[in-house]
């Protein structure tokens, strides 16, 4: 399945895009997604353990991603 991953701030700059498409097998986890993203040209710019949100909630590495989920790579937050 193809999952669209939202990018923001420094990550959007690094990848040169607001979102990227990632191809995942059924049952893939957040950790699997991250491995795929790291294979991309800008993947090396990610920190060792970037935050990932699934359906607008922070997700653990073992969380399973389903088709249609809203997935986002969250740079270190800096609100306030």
């Amino acid at each position: 399945m193809e999952v669209r991953v939202l990018l923001f701030a420094s990550y959007a700059d690094a990848f040169g895009a607001q979102n990227i498409a990632v191809d995942l097998r059924e049952g893939a986890t957040v950790k699997d997604l991250l491995a795929k993203v790291r294979e991309l040209a800008a993947g090396h710019s990610l920190p060792p353990a970037p935050l990932i949100a699934v359906n607008q909630e922070y997700a653990a590495p073992g969380a399973v991603i389903r088709a249609g989920d809203e997935v986002a790579l969250i740079p270190p937050v800096a609100g306030g």
């Binding site: 939202l6 923001f8 701030a9 420094s10 700059d13 920190p47 353990a49 970037p50 935050l51 949100a53 607008q56 909630e57 922070y58 997700a59 653990a60 590495p61 986002a72 969250i74 740079p75 270190p76 937050v77 800096a78 609100g79 306030g80």
Partner: protein
């Protein structure tokens, strides 16, 4: 009463105070974050805030809900602004009213600390030399260890 919002207009602190005011809540606490002219020794000319709007709204509402659980009967309004801000502009405002002053103060602190840890908002500083840079609290001199703690917490 609880209200949270990500806004693109200027924040009116007085309006927030009026919104949480009530004759039964004798203590009101307000926190304002404003754009500073210097950060890590570099002269700043302005700040650009951007958010993952849908998730930021949700996360902010969740934090306010947690505050309402912890500080029973708190009146709480939180606004965070996004877009281009000038020096001195208010980026975030938290107003909390409670019958007990300790709770009003604690609620305000709870919200700002959680907001800084969890709400997906980012800021890019614009410097006098024309350059601009995304702020990363996990690596800047004013490092915020809690962001890392959180990464570990969700793992």
């Amino acid at each position: 009463m609880i209200r949270t919002a990500i806004v693109t207009r200027p924040i009116d602190a007085s309006a927030l105070i009026a919104e949480v005011a009530s004759d039964t809540h004798g203590a009101t606490s307000l926190f304002l974050g404003t754009v500073r002219d210097v950060n890590d020794g570099r002269a700043v000319t302005g700040m650009e805030y951007t958010a993952y709007d849908a998730m930021a709204s949700r996360e902010l509402a969740k934090i306010a809900g947690e505050a309402a659980e912890k500080f029973d009967d708190v009146m709480l309004v939180v606004e965070h602004r996004t877009g281009a801000l000038a020096l001195g502009d208010v980026s975030v405002a938290i107003a909390a009213a409670h019958a007990h002053r300790g709770h009003a103060l604690d609620a305000t602190r709870f919200v700002i600390e959680q907001l800084k840890k969890r709400v997906p908002i980012w800021k890019r500083e614009h410097y006098v030399d024309g350059t601009r840079e995304w702020i990363d609290p996990t690596t800047s001199h004013s490092a915020n260890p809690t962001a890392l703690d959180m990464q570990q917490a969700v793992r």
